[in-house]
Homo-oligomer: 342 residues x 2
DNA sequence: CTGAAAGCGCTTACAG
DNA sequence: CTGAAAGCGCTTACAG
């Protein structure tokens, strides 16, 4: 007189691992192991399980997997902005590496605000992500602690730090800015301005490199520094160009902290008929799309963001799979691209 | 002689709903209901539960919730490309609406390939997303079926369709192109070219609007259509500009299907010293960043993509919460922005 | 309005 | 190498 078990579930009509196991005539956990390949299973059983899975169009339920294993197939990626092509390219590279490896990317936009970063971290860490990718190395202590306490493998993007247990892939922003400034000096410029927006940590590291190179040449002048906290854009670049030319008419070169600003500066020069580079040389940073098409084409620093994204994803993959990482602080360098504007 | 239950779990050290319930001295499911506010719970109990949750820094486990409810807090968003500012802005608007509402965004990039879209759909649907946002209305039958069968609420972006059970927020690409072409005709242009890259469905709808307007004016000439399947870019715009000027020297206006192409065209004109709009008028589409700064500034169609993203997210929120949607096919229109180039 | 129990679909020790 | 059982942390009928 056994009652048939009452069906109270909210079955979804999708086939489950139990269905696969039944069809393949093995236990669920043999099916689980066969499909994941984590432990040795008899070859014939593996074949039977795989055939059954295929026949039933079995797709594992990520939520169940995450709950049982305390680890999801998500990788959370935190970037400052979506409106800056640099970060989007980084994201694109990361996605192309992680998606085929079976991970889903959760993208969080911090808008350069520490509190937003903390909130996002709290929310994403609740998902028990398999890995974490964050931009830069400067963040609030709270955020730093959350990352460390979570135990989730984490790789830092765009900058490098040599610190035990910290993984990073990037370049030296300061060295790149130093090289670019040196190029201007070699061209004979002496009144070289640094024009920056946004003022995030990397922009300030570039300023350091700029200052250092100028001090070495004995021609640093803080009046030639324009540090504007507004978000960067071509429009801002144009405005700052005009303004500086008015205020410091003896300026002979402008180092814009990012290519979008520099492109705006170049267009403003064209509009105002200021000859570049004769009257004033112009350089940018990052080598964003369009810079090579400007009139004249923009001299800039090419940052290897595609490689940074790809390599950081690879490093994270190693970390998530418990494999050793040869170079925890990977410096991918930069390239000085000399074109017509300086 | 009851044995203490053996602890076999993989406890994570985080507090669970059971911990909260214990501290608040209620049952777990009262705690669950109090926290979610789904059903009436005594006010005092609610307060006690909330206090306990706060004290324990309780964060619900999304995986457990998803497994139990057969619905996650994910919203999957499928866009063609990450390298087109248009889609990134759409994404940004969507994120800003969805994140505060407690949803996480899963972003899938299809690269305009139907197979990639199907794969992404398969993988994302396995996560039982709470909602789905897809770009455009053209897709493979298989993809269409997957969406329908999943039962997941879905909103289509950028175009509108009046079809029962289908939700969309966008604009009429064809009407916008028609208006822009009419503007060129009114300016006196007669040899108007349509220059396109990528050739996705929306680009072809614009072509329709262009052809229609020219046929009405009796001056359609298919030799003035340049349809290049390569991805759009400023560089491509410059190349196509030069090429067309050489092959069809009597052209008096160029309608580029996107602002990035048009910007490239404008820069090429500047470089080749072709007067715009005197020798040839130039217009673009979408009003991307930088178009207002060109020399001359670009005449274009402003598409309300920020509003499209926001409204589509709102509509999806309604759908996910089982609320009625007043306008399932929401046309947000466009704006003709007349600047110096035409 | 509240609670005890069952169940979601997996993985993980444990035993053999 | 394989299986039976317990458990992950929630939500959902069901009963009161």
């Amino acid at each position: 007189m056994t009652e048939p078990p009452k069906r109270r579930g909210r079955a979804t009509g999708r086939s489950t691992l139990a269905d696969v196991a039944r069809l393949a005539e093995v236990s669920v956990n043999t099916a689980s192991r066969a499909l994941r390949g984590t432990r040795a299973v008899d070859a014939e059983l593996v074949a039977r399980v795989q055939a059954a899975a295929k026949q039933l169009r079995y797709v594992p339920d990520p939520a169940a997997r995450a709950l049982a294993s305390a680890r999801s197939s998500h990788v959370a990626v935190l970037i400052p902005l979506l409106t800056n092509a640099l970060f989007v390219e980084l994201l694109d590279a990361v996605q192309r590496k992680l998606t085929p490896a079976g991970y889903q990317t959760l993208i969080g936009v911090t808008h350069y605000r520490p509190e937003e970063e903390e909130e996002l971290l709290l929310s994403y860490l609740a998902h028990r992500p398999a890995g974490l990718l964050v931009t830069g190395v400067d963040r609030s202590d709270a955020a730093r602690r959350m990352i460390a306490d979570s135990g989730v493998p984490c790789v830092h993007l765009m900058e490098t730090v040599r610190q035990p247990g910290v993984y990073s892939v990037g370049l030296s922003q300061q060295a790149a800015a130093h090289a670019l400034t040196t190029h201007l000096l070699q061209r004979g410029c002496r009144r070289i301005a640094y024009i920056a927006g946004q003022l995030d940590p990397r922009v300030m590291q570039r300023r350091q490199g700029y200052e250092q190179a100028l001090r070495e040449a004995g021609c640093y002048d803080s009046r030639l520094e324009v540090l504007d906290p507004s978000p960067t854009s071509m429009a801002l670049g144009g405005r700052l160009f005009e303004e500086l030319l008015r205020r410091q008419p003896d300026v002979d070169a402008m180092f814009f902290c990012n290519d979008d600003l520099a492109q705006g500066g170049l267009l403003a020069a064209l509009r105002l008929q200021v000859p570049v580079p004769q009257r004033v040389a112009i350089v940018g940073f990052n080598d964003l799309s369009g810079s090579e098409l400007m009139l004249p084409p923009l001299t800039t620093i090419r940052t290897p963001r595609w490689q940074i994204g790809t390599q950081a994803a690879s490093m994270l993959l190693d970390l998530m799979h418990g494999q050793p990482v040869a170079q925890p602080a990977l410096d991918l360098g930069f390239e000085l691209v000399v074109r017509g504007s300086a």
